[in-house]
């Protein structure tokens, strides 16, 4: 098994050397092909009108040049107002939302008045919708437009992360009760099964997760019945699917993420793997032009003109390990170790550069020049990350940031709740960001099982006065089922008994799932448990995954032998991989051993053994001994989104054992702030830019 040694120049090793054995780039190809097919169904040059929320996801699967290659003449954002199209064909590409359809209908009516004739095609993502047809019919333009679909499903964000990139999945499900996401997720998981084989075992926690698993197994039944040889491709490489719905663990996203990538997301906001950073960080003055192609091909799009008004130009940068090998080493580190790591890389790089002085012969010099390109790209990414860290550091030093961390930690330890509530009130008075305040308040409510009615009303009043009364719907939806993360204690008498019973048992979970790390010794080197991602708190969602996939990890540290670990090992992460012998992953046997704990968490629990075509009928495939040299992959699907910290923690779990890789699938990447914003229906600062011409990213 390859391990990325700290001195290695080869940047290809990711996830600490245990890259998933599944090739997720197939999914990207699938998405690309789907788009090309959809575009080719319309003959000739066409004007593409694009739903701005799709630009990000599409940017991850394709480039503008590909679209141009397939006849896209010009691109526009889908937004209200007239559309000027030079071509006869106009193709709309959007998600089936009422607001988009209304705009389209409006534009169609406008264009109908013009003399030039157009043909219209509407591509709906991911599938056709009766709703859209109905609205177009009501608007009287159904006859003028051809409707078809573009089935965009999982998009690979990294080698081991695939995402549906649905921004509003959480709100749709937990506030609106719209289960479309579940159905779409089911379809996407079916595609995974078609590509990689059937999941022999499907487990889920949470009501929506149960709904998803039952839909999935039923659908799989139908498909396998109707076409037996459909689902057996490459089976045996997946060992199970674990579905965790966001409602099961609301605590984790409410906390501030403390990994490098997580912190970037918290403070700068990563959207579709792209982060906006000052141009100066991306410019490469010392690097010749040839580097541009390799280093930052995805950043060539000009920044939107509107943003140039800000003091420094900001540019979108694609955070990806393919062009930025250093990111793979940094992204999952606790932010406190990032500095050390950067320092180390800088020294390594410096030494590599110094090699040139040792070059005596021409051959040696040629060798050095040959390596120069790699060094320069390393150099460039080091610049970038040093710069990014420098940007983050002042933000982590603000009083607000530290105050909120302190409150979070105290709440997690259930220490003096009322003092924390006072502190929250103080933060409101100081005018802290609304998102932070709401997150803290929800956290207080969930961990303490509710807030005293009087206090709660007072705090809610403070919020409404400080941030505006238009937050009332937000507060209402936070407090009403199925979300119920901001509730009074005791609950009002009218609440259903079932709702009352579903109170979150945080304090007992803290013990049974070992959520807060106990041992003092580990303070200096936190990365020996998943809890390092929150500097001491282990995400419940990942503990649940461990309940299935790494049972030992829940009870104690799998890498517990501390004396084995060299204290001076600067690179805690990779050093451990080498020094601690890995444990062979145990077979998947469901929730066994943790039934009570899991049952105590509100929401249903499922564990289904699927019939694998080609396998022995009736046999439980999961108990087939794992082949040592062939690792199996466990797919973890987060319904309602997951955080970067959860990804980091899962990668950590994956590193700890031999023979099991994780593929993380999610409806989207979330963090506490984005959740609050989507619940409050605050439009994120528009990613679309102001230009009428659309360009992907």
């Amino acid at each position: 098994m390859a391990t990325a040694s700290s001195t290695s120049d080869v940047p290809s090793k990711q996830n600490g050397g245990t890259g998933t054995s599944l090739d997720v780039s197939v999914l990207r190809e699938l998405a690309k092909k789907g788009l090309v097919d959809a575009l080719n169904s319309v003959n000739g040059a066409k004007t593409l009108v694009l739903d701005p929320t799709l630009a990000g996801p599409l940017g991850l699967v394709t480039e503008v040049s590909l679209l141009k290659h397939h006849g896209v003449d010009k691109m526009f954002w889908l937004e209200s107002g007239p559309l000027t199209a030079a071509t006869t064909n106009i193709v709309y590409l959007c998600r089936p939302l009422v607001k988009w359809v209304k705009i389209i209908a409006d534009q169609l009516k406008r264009l109908a008045r013009e003399p030039s004739k157009h043909t219209y095609t509407l591509l709906l993502v991911p599938r056709m919708s009766t709703l859209v047809t109905r609205i177009l019919e009501e608007e009287g333009v159904l006859g003028d437009i051809t409707i078809s679909s573009y089935n965009l499903q999982f998009i690979p964000l990294a080698d081991d992360v695939v995402s549906l990139e649905l921004d509003n999945a959480f709100k749709d499900m937990w506030v609106d009760g719209d289960e479309t996401t579940i159905y779409d997720s089911m379809q996407a998981l079916m595609t995974l099964q078609k590509l990689y084989g059937t999941f022999p075992r499907v487990m889920g926690k949470g009501d929506y997760a149960c709904r998803l698993t039952s839909l999935l197994t039923r659908q799989a039944q139908d498909v396998s019945d109707s076409n037996t040889n459909m689902l057996n491709a490459g089976s045996g490489r997946l060992d199970s699917l674990i579905v965790i719905d966001r409602g099961v663990d609301m605590i984790t996203p409410l906390l501030t993420q403390l990994t490098y990538e997580g912190l970037i997301d918290e403070l700068c906001r990563i959207r579709n793997s792209h982060v906006e950073i000052p141009v100066s960080l991306l410019a490469a003055p010392t690097v010749p032009a040839q580097q541009d192609a390799a280093g930052s091909s995805s950043t060539t799009a000009p920044p939107a003109p509107g943003s140039s008004l800000t003091k420094e130009k900001r540019k979108k940068h694609h955070l990806t390990t393919t062009t930025d090998p250093l990111l793979a080493e940094l992204r999952d580190l606790n932010f406190s170790s990032v500095g050390r790591k950067l320092n180390q890389v800088a020294r390594r790089l410096d030494e590599d550069y110094k090699l040139r002085h040792q070059a005596k012969t021409v051959a040696q010099l040629r060798d050095f020049v040959g390596k120069l390109g790699g060094l320069q790209s390393d150099h460039q990414s080091l610049r970038l990350h040093t710069g990014l860290s420098e940007l983050l550091v002042p933000l982590t030093r603000t009083e607000q940031f530290n105050k909120s961390l302190e409150i979070q930690q105290n709440l997690l330890a259930s220490y003096d709740i009322s003092a924390q509530l006072t502190a929250i009130e103080e933060m409101i008075a100081q005018g802290a960001e609304m998102q932070i305040v709401v997150r803290l308040l929800c956290l207080a409510s969930v961990t303490a099982g509710g807030i005293k009615l009087k206090t709660l009303e007072n705090l809610r009043r403070e919020i409404l006065q400080a941030y505006g009364y238009n937050l009332l719907p937000l507060l209402l939806s936070l407090s009403s089922p199925p979300l119920s993360i901001l509730v009074p204690n005791p609950l009002p008498p009218s609440t259903l008994i079932s709702a009352a019973a579903s109170k979150y048992p945080y304090t007992s979970l803290r013990k049974s799932l070992r959520l807060l790390l106990d041992d003092q010794d580990s303070v200096d080197d936190l990365e020996n448990d998943i809890s390092y991602v929150y500097s001491g708190y282990a995400p419940i969602s990942i503990r649940l995954v461990q309940c299935v996939a790494q049972k030992g990890g829940v009870l104690s540290n799998p890498s517990g032998d501390k004396e084995k670990k060299p204290k001076d090992n600067a690179d805690a992460d990779t050093g451990k991989v080498q020094s601690v012998s890995k444990v062979q992953a145990h077979p998947i046997v469901g929730w066994k051993g943790f039934e009570d704990v899991v049952a105590s968490i509100p929401g249903g629990t499922t564990d289904i053994v699927q019939k694998v075509p080609g396998g022995v009928h009736g046999a439980v495939p999961a108990t087939v001994p794992l082949l040592k040299d062939q690792p199996t992959t466990t797919v973890v699907f987060f319904l309602g989104g997951c955080t970067y910290t959860e990804i980091a923690a899962l990668r950590w779990v994956g590193r700890q054992s031999r023979g099991r890789n994780f593929l993380i699938a999610t409806t989207g990447i979330v963090n506490g702030a984005s959740l609050v914003e989507s619940l409050a229906s605050i439009e994120r600062a528009s990613a679309s830019g102001q230009s009428k011409d659309a360009a992907l990213l």
């Binding site: 009422v98 709703l131 719209d178 606790n334 930690q409 409404l464 209402l476 003092q520 303070v523 001491g536």
Partner: protein, 895 residues
């Protein structure tokens, strides 16, 4: 013994290529005289449709009287009448043709087309109202669509047979109908979109949905035009009778032949059709002339008019006495049977014949071809597939079997499959079935297609036997059978009245279910069968059948049309497919009165909750009025209130916004538990009113409307309306702390430091003075910040001075308190701070050499770990004792 295969061969191109004509069926007198009819033949050995050609005069009495004008007769290739039906009473039939799945498409001049299956059932679609007005003057029907020529000489295209909207192709700008025209189906064009070729004046226009291109030919006009089955070549006939074959991109001229020279050709050319992809058949009333690629010809004489149907590997000719098939002799047959052939397969065949004659030559022959024996066996198997007579098929397979015995390793799959295929082919070629499909065609269209064709002819037993013989799923056959059974069986079987009907239904249902459980593998779609039952008006039977359907999503549409609304909705929700739920919801919303629609959702309780949520999502965007009614009828006060609020936030007009807020407040107040919300809304409307007043006072220079309480106060303070701010504070019971922070921030932002000072002195600060220092320092007003330090707690002063970068004061403070250690700290940090600031500037200036960069992290990126470390020990200790944070640049030195 059947005649030797080569008996029907005829050589062409100096004996290198052979064509053969063999009789498929002998059909004397089965077809009416074909020259009086408009005819359309279906490919792959499919049926032939005839309709009387009304332009021709026929003598009454001589022809069979049944051929009245408006009837279409469908014959099998064996000459059996499969179906007779009359089409429209009005509207002239422009054209008819066959789809890939053997349905007859009939198009009339009003642009209406029907798809008839072989049982006479039809679906009707239209080319749209425009086409109806203009009229359709001609059309070409290919297997997957129609291209119609309208009265205004524009082209319309229909893709697929699902009643889709017609597409307008590019306008060729004709002034009169083309002399002839043809269509290349989308599967065979480069662009994958249909291409139309029209002979206009002396040239040809090729038209697709983008453009119309004049191909700049000069030999036209062309009276006939026929594209080859693979769409690569085009056969053209000029007025002068010259047959000209060109590639469809008009780049290459492939062959020329003067049809007027043909011996025995009399009268007008009837048809120009392709025989496979490499020869063209030209027919006259009693002659069929096969023209090869190099202009060589073969003649076939008939006693009367013929009709030729192009197949992918040959051509079918229906004559007065026989139905023949003409094809190029396949390579494998040539190899085995060509006189004097010395190919391994020919030798193998010869060896086998010797073997059957017990001649020792057999062994000798086998030895000579030993190295090529494998391919010889394969060729014999293939040749068997090409033969029509079972006698020769058997002989060739035997030869293959014989050769196989000499091979050490041989995969018998091909052999077995060929045997199976031939058995099936011979069965369907039987004259009573009448599907003369060749092996090549059979492999092209797949066995399941063949089975579908059999079921379409109601030959269920044969279809079932074949599908089990080929181990295919019998579901499709069973389904078709069940549908046919329902249609045929009469509801009143025994007894009388209602009971009898029920009995009948029960019996039918039982027999269907039994058959399915016995033969199928348990997941046939009952929903489709139930749909059929419903369509023929047997609702009870449909319901019964539907109970057996496992897939919810299949049940829903039928349940809807059966008006089983509740059940349909429940099933849709169960399926998890939100689109299906919307389908039902929108359908019901349109059909039911609003009241009962709501009641249906409300009574559904938990089961229908997802549906009701979806309705809300939809209505919130599209139909608010309905949503309001929905909430109202369901007594959902809170939702009603939120809806009002939602609307209020989008309103620009102050008074209507206030009104909306008030109604929200009213809704909240009607719910006992929403007292808090009601109070808040009350506050909000008060705030809005106050803001209106404020705007009036400010003469419209300031905008207040819609701001939060905080922002309102802030705006007041910033604009010197301190009195109003105070009043707002008391009116809205703003706590002191928050008010102080707002005022602090507001005054700092306008640099009113004097005002701030007076404010700070007005009474003891509820937020302490540290907040002042920090906020001012944060905004860069170091000097002002420092002036508040003396008012803070003594032990914090050093740190606060540090915050303000007042090193000297900090040092002095240390000295005053006699804190030596701290003094040292401060002095070290002071210099360091300056140094690091300096070095930072230096580095930026230096333009980022790598060594400098390397030095940045070396300085030690200040750990978020520092706080991490501390707060994580804090909770357990229970005392807030921050340990000394070691990072200097923070400037916070705690004790």
């Amino acid at each position: 013994m059947a005649e030797h295969p080569t008996a029907t061969w005829q050589a062409m191109q100096d004996g290198t290529v052979f064509y053969k004509r063999h009789q498929l069926y002998s059909i004397p007198g089965k077809f009416p005289p074909l020259n009086d009819f408009v005819i359309a033949g279906c490919r792959y050995g499919g049926p032939i449709a005839l309709m009387r050609d009304t332009t021709k005069v026929i003598a009454l009495g001589t022809a069979a009287p049944s051929f009245s004008k408006a009837q279409i007769h469908v014959f099998s290739s064996a000459g059996d009448v499969m179906l007779v039906f009359s089409v429209w009473d009005h509207g002239k039939i422009v054209r008819f043709g066959w789809t890939a799945d053997e349905r007859l498409v009939v198009l009339n001049e009003e642009g209406v087309y029907r798809l008839y299956d072989l049982q006479g059932e039809y679906q009707q679609y239209s080319l749209g109202s425009d086409a109806g007005e203009l009229g359709i003057i001609d059309a070409r029907i290919h297997e997957n669509g129609i291209v119609a020529l309208t009265g205004s000489l524009t082209l319309l295209e229909i893709k697929e047979w699902n009643g889709g909207k017609p597409l307008t192709l590019a306008n060729p700008g004709l002034s009169q109908p083309p002399h002839s025209w043809a269509v290349i189906p989308p599967d065979f064009t480069i662009s994958r979109h249909v291409e139309v070729l029209m002979s206009v004046e002396s040239s040809i226009y090729s038209v697709d949905n983008l453009e119309s291109v004049d191909q700049q030919l000069s030999r036209g006009p062309f009276t006939r035009m026929s594209p080859s089955p693979n769409g690569k070549s085009l056969a053209l006939l000029t007025y002068s009778g010259l047959l000209w074959v060109v590639s469809t991109d008009f780049q290459r001229s492939l062959a020329e032949f003067n049809t007027t020279d043909a011996p025995g050709a009399e009268g007008e050319v009837r048809q120009i059709e392709w025989c496979g992809n490499d020869a063209v058949l030209v027919t006259w009333s009693s002659l069929a002339l096969l023209v090869g690629p190099f202009g060589d010809t073969l003649q076939y004489f008939y006693s009367g008019p013929t009709f030729a149907i192009t197949e992918t590997d040959g051509i079918r000719i229906v004559g007065p006495d026989s139905c023949d098939f003409v094809q190029k002799v396949p390579a494998s047959s040539v190899s085995v049977f060509r006189p004097g052939s010395t190919s391994p397969s020919a030798i193998l065949y010869d060896a086998w014949e010797n073997f059957t004659r017990r001649s020792p030559k057999a062994d000798e022959s086998i030895r000579t071809i030993r190295p090529e024996l494998g391919s010889a066996v394969n060729e014999c198997i293939d040749a068997a597939g090409r033969e029509w007579e079972p006698f020769w098929q058997r002989r060739l397979l035997n030869a293959a079997k014989f050769g196989r015995a000499f091979l050490d390793l041989y995969d018998p799959t091909d052999f077995v499959q060929m045997g199976q295929a031939l058995k099936v082919l011979n069965a369907v070629r039987f004259y009573e079935i009448g599907i003369p499909v060749t092996y090549a065609q059979y492999t092209q269209v797949s066995p399941s297609h063949l089975i579908n064709r059999l079921t379409a002819r109601n030959l269920h037993l044969l279809a079932l036997r074949i599908s089990s013989f080929l181990s295919l799923k019998p579901d499709a056959v069973l389904k078709h059978w069940a549908c046919a059974k329902i249609v045929r069986s009469k509801p009143t079987a025994t007894g009388s009245g209602k009971d009898a009907e029920l009995d009948g239904d029960d019996a039918v249902c039982r027999s269907i279910v039994e058959k399915f459980e016995k033969m199928g593998d348990g997941n046939a779609s009952y929903a489709d069968i139930a749909k059929r039952a419903w369509e023929v008006g047997r609702a009870t039977l449909a319901t019964k059948l539907l109970d057996h359907e496992p897939r919810a999503s299949d049940q829903v549409p039928l349940l809807l049309s059966m008006k089983e609304d509740r059940l349909a909705l429940v099933k849709a929700v169960e399926s998890g497919d939100t689109d299906l739920v919307y389908h039902v919801l929108l359908h019901l919303q349109r059909r039911l009165p609003l009241g009962s629609f709501f009641r249906l959702l409300e009574e559904g309780g938990n089961k229908l909750a997802p549906a009701s949520k979806l309705l809300q999502v939809y209505a919130r965007e599209q139909n608010r009025e309905m949503l309001r009614d929905f909430y109202y009828s369901d007594d959902r006060r809170v939702e009603s209130a939120v809806l009002c609020l939602d609307e209020a936030f989008t309103m620009m007009d102050p008074s209507s916004r206030i009104a909306s807020i008030k109604s929200a407040q009213k809704f909240f107040s009607e719910d006992k538990e929403r007292g808090f919300e009601a109070k808040m809304m009350d506050e909000y409307s008060r705030l809005l009113t106050t803001q209106q007043q404020l705007e009036k006072e400010a003469d419209g220079k300031l905008s207040f409307f819609g701001l939060s309480v905080n922002d309102t106060i802030r705006t007041c303070l910033v604009n010197g309306m301190a009195k109003r701010a105070d009043k707002l504070k008391t009116d809205f019971k703003v706590p002191d702390k928050r008010f102080w922070y707002i005022k602090l921030q507001a005054l700092t932002s306008v640099r009113d430091f004097e005002g701030l000072d007076t404010f700070a002195r007005s009474k003891r600060s509820p937020i302490g003075y540290e907040a002042f220092v920090r906020h001012l320092a944060d905004k860069g007003h170091m000097k002002e910040a420092a002036s508040y330090v003396p008012r803070c707690d003594a032990h914090k002063r050093v740190d606060l001075y540090v915050v303000c970068s007042e090193w000297r004061m900090a040092a002095k403070e240390c000295k005053d308190r006699g804190d030596k250690a701290k003094l040292e700290c401060v002095s070290v940090y002071a210099t360091k701070e300056v140094v690091s600031e300096f070095s930072h500037r230096e580095r930026v200036g230096a333009g980022g050499g790598f060594y400098e960069i390397a030095s940045v992290p070396a300085r030690g990126l200040p750990p978020a770990a520092a706080p991490t470390v501390s707060w994580y020990t804090v909770p357990r200790a229970g005392i807030i004792t921050h340990c000394c944070i070691t990072d200097p640049s923070v400037g916070q030195v705690h004790e």
